[in-house]
């Protein structure tokens, strides 16, 4: 009986191709919108998470200045006491549970090679920086400890810098000018690509902190201290330890607030990811409204179909169809119709999401659960919105229905 009804409904859909297509359009657009939104959304979430993990996993970043709090933006106070060599030394000496501790000071500086020039993010740091940020070298070597200590003019460059100055060539051993100082390239950093905020992470030059401080910054300040937790220590556990050691090193009495901030990149990653997920959910819900509209379209056309086929219903009832036969026939027709719309919608939605993932360079992340849900939901819409028209058809009086012109 069900099989018969499916066959019948396919035939009836085929007979009214244009009308069926227009009916489907609502469901197609609704499902396509939901699928595209959710797929792009989950791709974005993945992208954001990946971006933040590119900064380094299980990473704490310390910088001078009050932490952001309910009192207002945490920004820089008038007189911020910068981080200094002794703060770093205290962490290195006393902090347990850290895999790598590294200072970093940054500045946008003009870098010159031959006649080419480029404004690049120049970072003064030490050899632990690569470890802290999970950053590898494609070729060459990191700074040696003695180079770090003495502030020798050596540097590591990112992929963007290499391309700007050397094309596909090997940059190792070349001398570039950074600000007014020159430094020799000893290694090439692995490409990291852009962050989700459009920042080129490969447009960088790393040099020993002492060299940076002396020749570029002109002071002995440290902007940030990167602390990577080891595998056994969660960052949430590491953070209070860092805070204690630094308060001690910076001689902050217990009655005063810390004058430095510790950012937990893992928590930021989670927060960003959950924000994106929330956005995705909202967009999905908005798209879902169009599904409702599509359902009403189905109800509309099914009512037309029942009215148009009143005589057919009368014949079927006269020759012995029960109410349930008529009910099933129209219910199946509505369900098949909206299921068809759902499937077309899924294909279009996935295509849109694929296109978006190519243009936005986010991962294409179709979710089988979401697709299955869309299939189920579109079938459900057909049943729900098809029920009333089907019932109307089934309740017809055969005598009246036969008289219907």
């Amino acid at each position: 009986m069900i099989w018969e009804a499916i066959r019948l409904s396919l035939r009836s859909i085929r007979r009214n191709v244009l009308r069926s297509f227009l009916t489907l359009l609502g469901i197609v657009i609704g499902v396509a919108a939901v699928i595209a939104m959710l797929t792009i959304g989950s791709g974005t979430t993945q992208k954001v998470k990946a971006d933040i993990s590119k900064l380094g996993s299980n990473l704490l970043v310390v910088r001078a200045g009050r932490p952001a709090g309910p009192g207002g933006p945490g920004g820089l106070d008038q007189a911020v006491r910068p981080l200094a060599e002794k703060d770093l030394a205290a962490l290195v000496a006393h902090l347990s549970g850290a895999r790598a501790i590294s200072p970093a000071s940054q500045k946008q500086v003009r870098v010159i090679f031959g006649t080419e020039s480029l404004t690049s993010g120049v970072t003064g740091t030490d050899s632990a920086y690569l470890d802290a940020r999970d950053w590898k070298l494609v070729s060459g070597r990191p700074f040696s400890d003695s180079e770090t200590r003495s502030g020798t003019g050596v540097c590591l460059i990112g992929e963007t810098v290499r391309q700007q100055f050397f094309g596909a060539g090997d940059p190792e051993g070349e001398i570039i000018r950074v600000n007014r100082t020159s430094c020799k390239i000893v290694g090439l950093l692995e490409p990291k690509g852009y962050t989700g905020f459009g920042q080129d992470q490969d447009n960088v030059v790393l040099m020993p902190l002492a060299a940076y401080q002396r020749r570029i910054a002109g002071n002995r300040d440290i902007d940030n201290i990167y602390i990577a937790a080891d595998d056994r220590t969660p960052t949430t556990e590491l953070q209070p330890r860092v805070e204690d050691i630094l308060r001690d090193a910076r001689r902050i009495t217990p009655d005063r607030e810390s004058d430095f901030a510790i950012r937990d990149m893992t928590q930021i990653a989670d927060a960003m990811a959950s924000a994106t997920t929330t956005m995705t959910g909202m967009q999905g819900a908005v798209a879902g409204v169009s599904l409702l509209v599509g359902g009403i379209g189905i109800m509309n056309i099914m009512l037309v179909s029942v009215t148009e086929r009143t005589r057919e219903i009368g014949i079927r009832l006269a020759i012995g169809a029960h109410e349930k036969h008529i009910l099933i026939q129209f219910l199946v027709e509505a369900t098949v119709l909206s299921l068809l719309g759902g499937i077309i919608g899924i294909l279009i939605g996935l295509a849109l999401a694929g296109l978006a993932s190519m243009t936005l360079t986010i991962p294409f992340a179709p979710s089988p659960a979401v697709i299955l849900l869309a299939v189920g939901f579109s079938a459900l819409i057909g049943m729900v919105f098809g029920f009333f028209p089907a019932l109307r058809g089934a309740r017809l009086d055969p005598i009246d229905a036969l008289r219907h012109e």
Partner: protein, 235 residues
């Protein structure tokens, strides 16, 4: 049930529409019996109650008062679905306007009642072919109604009515849309089915020459049976 025992009995059947002053009696206490194997013509002017009587005979409608029994069953007290079952099992319908499903082949139209009986597809096909052969439509199985003449369409409708081997055939002006030659053919066919299959036929008509094919003529007037006569044997 012995042969010749009443298949259909009306016991003071009333069918009324409307309320109070506006109340209209389509049937006003009709008593009637039709035996198995009879070929009955039902005549009468419009509004005489003949159509109402036919709807009740075909178990499409129920009396307001009185008893309608079909095969010994009080069919007037059955609910919609039970009456649908009775129709499916024992009654075949032929209408003036043929009432075939458009854009559906002759064979599929004939199969229709079997679907609601739950007959398997292959058996349905076989039975439909057999019924189409019985009405003389071999070779037209895959034509849609639009591709068939009026007479052929009515033959398909008759095939659809007899494919279930019903006890009763209810025909409502079966030749109303046909010319004289086609009328004659269809009436010959109904007569043959009545004789060969022992099919009881109840036929509404307003044409006297059509009624002559029947063995018996019942005339309705103002909701009553005005006359009930046996016809002379036609040659």
């Amino acid at each position: 049930m012995a042969a010749g025992a009443p298949l259909i009995t009306f016991d003071t059947v009333w069918k009324s529409y409307g309320q109070g002053e506006a109340k209209v009696h389509a049937l006003a206490g009709v008593d009637l019996a039709i035996r198995r194997g009879e070929f009955v013509a039902i005549m009468g002017p419009s509004g005489s109650g003949k159509s109402t009587a036919m709807n009740i005979i075909g178990c499409l409608d129920t009396p307001t008062a009185g008893t309608y029994s079909f095969m010994g069953v009080d069919a007037g007290r059955l609910d919609r679905n039970r009456r649908a079952m009775l129709r499916n099992l024992y009654v075949g319908f032929v209408f003036q306007g043929y009432n075939l499903l458009a854009r559906t082949t002759a064979a599929e139209n004939v199969e229709l009642p079997l679907i609601y009986r739950g007959v398997a597809a292959r058996e349905r096909r076989d039975l439909a072919m057999q019924a189409l052969a019985e009405v003389g439509l071999v070779g037209r199985e895959h034509h849609t109604p639009a591709e068939l003449s009026g007479g052929q369409q009515q033959r398909v409708a008759i095939a659809r009515a007899i494919v279930t081997r019903p006890t009763l055939l209810v025909a409502d002006e079966p030749t109303g849309n046909l010319d004289t030659a086609r009328t004659h053919e269809i009436m010959e066919l109904l007569t043959r089915l009545n004789k060969e299959l022992g099919l009881t036929v109840a036929m509404v008509t307003h044409e006297a020459d059509v009624a002559e094919y029947a063995e018996r003529t019942i005339r309705f007037l103002d909701g009553h049976v005005a006359s009930d006569t046996m016809n002379m044997e036609t040659a």
